[in-house]
Homo-oligomer: 187 residues x 2
């Protein structure tokens, strides 16, 4: 299962076998069932996750207990409540399985050790962070410029497989529309 | 003027005089007047900017020529059309002065030289990228969970100085509301 991680990292930086052994030693494997939580609101966030298989939702729950989907993460994505992780403050988001999910887990201290011990990994995380920022910026532009129908069509174009896998109620909570509105938009 | 850059970087990583001289050598200084463009849509994006003084707006112009503000950047902020900069594709955003503005400019090749030549700078850019991502994520959560009035109040709380400096029409284009709606919200 660590092969997937190596393949993923090597899209950005090549690693020798020795270097990858060093990287791999800092991850631990976990498996979760659908509906299980990796992070619950209020938790101390121990890990930053690399998704090997399955699907996760990162959720913000508002004062009225309504759930808003901040992001989805499937194979090859990294996910966590990153603010809580980096600052070691209680989680304000929850991370929950939409499907049975396998992840590799990275402790904050091990993330730091990887960056300190192997500059290639710092380069890797820098590239991921830069493109993570650009993805979030693209979503902001989509909110500024598009209505619900257009946002749905953009998502359909960008992530067709996500739309196949995710229940309509969760898509609505990601797009910021009601379930009824989404039903009118999607065939 | 490079002192501001040093102070800013040293909030994250300490530098020796020799290291800072190396960093500083990779930046060039430019001054722009209000309404001048640093980047125009369609341009090749040469630089990534550190704002020394003044205020910039990063703008997405839609098919109907309506302007949407993706972000503002003032003192101590980094700004560019980062997608176009990293991928060296034509700019889809424009970057324009809201006030007279002084910047330090960093070429992509110099950004890479800094990261390659001094691991502390790669650490610095990684931290900035991580927190840039978190800022964008916070704005997404704000869009998902808040109405225009609440988004205005959040901005007032987070960036009171921005609200003082930015004309109401630009604030409206940042919050995604009409100028008339904003007038009803703000005293």
């Amino acid at each position: 299962m660590h092969d997937k991680l190596r393949e993923h990292i090597e899209k950005i930086v090549p690693l020798t076998d020795k270097e990858f052994a060093f990287v791999s030693d800092h991850f631990s494997y976990k498996k979760y069932r659908k509906h299980q939580f990796l992070i619950q609101e209020g938790d101390t966030v121990k890990y930053h996750y690399f998704v090997l298989s399955g699907l996760l939702k990162l959720v913000y729950t508002d004062d009225t207990a309504k759930q808003h989907i901040v992001s989805f993460a499937m194979e090859d994505w990294w996910e966590s409540d990153f603010y809580a992780y980096y600052t070691q403050t209680p989680a304000t988001l929850s991370l929950e399985c939409v499907e049975d999910t396998e992840v590799l887990c990275l402790l904050l201290e091990d993330y730091k050790k990887l960056c300190d011990g192997l500059q290639k990994m710092e380069r890797f995380f820098l590239e991921k962070a830069n493109f993570g920022f650009l993805g979030a910026q693209r979503r902001i532009i989509s909110w500024l410029t598009s209505n619900a129908k257009e946002r749905y069509e953009q998502l359909l174009k960008q992530s067709p497989s996500l739309i196949q896998r995710v229940p309509k109620s969760l898509l609505a909570a990601y797009l910021g529309v009601s379930r009824e509105t989404l039903s009118r938009l999607s065939p």
